[in-house]
Amino acid sequence: MSTADVAHDDHHHGAPTGWRRWVFSTNHKDIGTMYLIFAFCMLIFGGLMAMAIRAELIFPGMQLLSPDVYNNIVTNHALVMIFGAVMPAAAGMANWMIPLMIGAPDMALPRLNNLSFWLLPIAAFTLVTSMLAPYLLDFGTVDTGVNTGWTIYPPLSAKVGASMDFLIFTIHVLGISSILAAINIIVTILNLRAPGMTMMKMPLFVWTWLVTAFLLILVMPVLAGGVTMLLFDRHFGTSFFDAAGGGDPVLFQHLFWFFGHPEVYVLLLPSIGVLGMVIPTFSRKPLFGKTSLVISMAILMVLGLIVWAHHQYTIGMSLGTVTYFMIGTILISIPVGLMVFNFIATMWRGAMTFETPMLFAIGIILMFTFGGLTGVMLAVIPADMQYHDSMFVVAHFHYALIPGALYGLYAGVFFWLPKWTGRMYDEKLGKLFFWTNVGGFNLTFFPQHFLGLAGMPRRIIDYNVAFTEFNVMSSIGSFIFGISHILMLYIIIKCVKGQGEKATDQVWEGAKGLEWQLPSPPPFHTWATAPTVK
């Protein structure tokens, strides 16, 4: 290396320009931005699929889709929302905010960071290929498209054509991306904290991501192993999941849910972290019981890893086994209950104002509590025999994941948008977005509880006329819910284009922490000299 290069590396340079800035980016802010843009595109894609599902279900009869296309959309809606929208959005916020919050100059492994993002568009491409495979590619076999639901249970998934292979490849690529991102986040948090930033002084958002990253590393390989075994069953003559060859179809379900249940917490925890930032800010009061929040997260992680089989009560486990899984699952309400309690106690006797992020935070507390309580109902096996695979389950997990994961991310977007863009968003429009969105969401999913209890199974394209009324309500709600996101896009674009009031460094009156000491927007490189935390 020549002396000129050394001198070049020594001083702070500005942002590189053109496409190189993005494709070769090693800057945590740029990569964070790309993650967020990618996530929003996938949110729209997954949302359009959801609206197609509801448009099909608005009336009895098959009016829009054929059964296989419907089943394929049901499958891909879930995969796109989980792996394309929620996880990348949370990773984008981690990229943007963790270095700012802990006083680090960047992520610890910037090139790995670049790789873990750029794997995502590749995965999105193979996912779309999987959806189009039945129409575009002819491998000489009948291809129904992946019509299995996102759980891709064999033996059905063993019968699907080449589209399933593309999906398996997609899952592998996504898994690599998530694991790389998780490693990066753990290394950053453990090694790059500013002097004085002890573990217990770390903001809750950083804590939640630390736990999430460990969870990802623990469970993603299990899913990767499971789908690889499926691939071998399909093409290389093994029979891991084929009873006729001495295998066990139920084994796949165990492998899947060993990943699938902790995955729920992977989706939830970053949003809980956002709550831990938003609520104290707008209550103008420190976070209540931070230590107990951190401990309950750790307990949640451990419990989350050992209760997976509550997704499979109907597969016929022994009485002792199901009793264990029932009690384990009900016990999850203890750490979750403590978290909700601590957030309410943070609001209690504070001086609250109700900006958009706070509205979403309050919405989360109320609606996620509801989703959590139906979760306790689902854990109770005799009654779960009825709820299982019905629309009740669909309603339950959307009440857990939309408030629990998605609204946390929305709160984060509105909370940090002024910091990211340097402009305040339009508060009036923000509130309008909140009310239409929450209204649409509740109208969509609340009636589905009744459908499930009355006996409507999930994942069906056509239903008996007895279920019509609630399906009409649900579909209308979903259109309001879906269309409201145009408003969100408009609000964000206004900020990015530099319209609106200039944001101060602190942005919010009650905001505390390192990230609020930086200018809004922060320069390309921040905390080149680590701050000292007292």
Binding site: T314, T323, I327, G337, V380
Partner: protein, 375 residues
Amino acid sequence: MKRLLSFAALIGLVISTPVLAEYGLNFPEPATPVATEIKDIHNLTMIISTVLLVIVFTIVFYSLFTHRKSRGFEPDQEFHKGTFGKWSWVLVPVTVLGVDLTIADSAQSVLEKVWIAPNEEMIEIKVVGHQWWWEFVYLTEGGVKVESRILSKKDLADRGQPENLYLRAVDNHLKLPVGKNVKFLHTSDDVLHAFWVPALGMKKDAIPGYIQETWIDGIYKEGIYRGQCAEMCGTKHAFMPIVVEAVSEQAFATWIAEKKVARDKAIAEANSNKTWTKDELMAKGKTSYDKKCAACHKVDGSGGGPFPKLAGSPMATTGSIADHMNIVLKGKGVMPAWASSMDDLELAAVVTYERNAWGNDTGDVIQPKDVKASR
């Protein structure tokens, strides 16, 4: 607190009244004692959840209206340092644990009852899931078999049944006597399915290679109880309903006896060494084809979507009979195997029909003994 409780109890009561049940707000009216107990557990957890929800909402809304800056409320920066702040991390988990144990404890006895069938003689029925129909074998009644398939809107009209039963009506009901314990043994012939009749209070997956047990402790009264497949089983998952018809013991015995006679006649027919004429096979073939194959390949053999066209297809015309037979027997990709659920005569008739109907006109006639040879 007491007012809250009674309010929640009232909500629970309202939701569980039969008046609202008409609109499908809660579980359907239970048909057996166990299903009744399950509904009670459901209502109990729902009431507990409602009470907790009301408590949380009340506290949050009180705080939202009182502790706001616009009313000049000064934030209490010392709140977390008080006694409450110091001990809440113990108090809250202990309270939640108490609620948890109440729920788990009340569920335990029902769970044991549901999970383990008593060790006594009862009617045993093997329930086999197929893509996309149900097979019920009355193991303790001499192996009488019922095949149950969805009725299309046209079928319903032909039978004089109302159209609003579409997707909840089948050709052959699963008949059960009232007041008798019945054990179900669940398995599947191809992919996962799930047997779900909400009024019976149970659901069980049909898994190939597994046999799982469920039981019901006596249906209260005669009537029709409808349900459908609850586990994603591919293209026509939405189209495999289940209909249980509870009849008197007397009627059940008569029905079983009739079924046995019909079955013995069919077996005798299939086992006779008779050489069948083309017309006989075509007639039998059409009946079976329309019932079992037309769901995918269509009555006119035109297929559609992933299901191949049979009218004029090389497989059913110029292709060899052996290859054709092989696909029907063993299945291929999405196509299920029929070897176990059709006898030689029926298979011979179906293949003959497919090779001669809709202008295929190969003139091939396949005899039951040909099928036996290619099995």
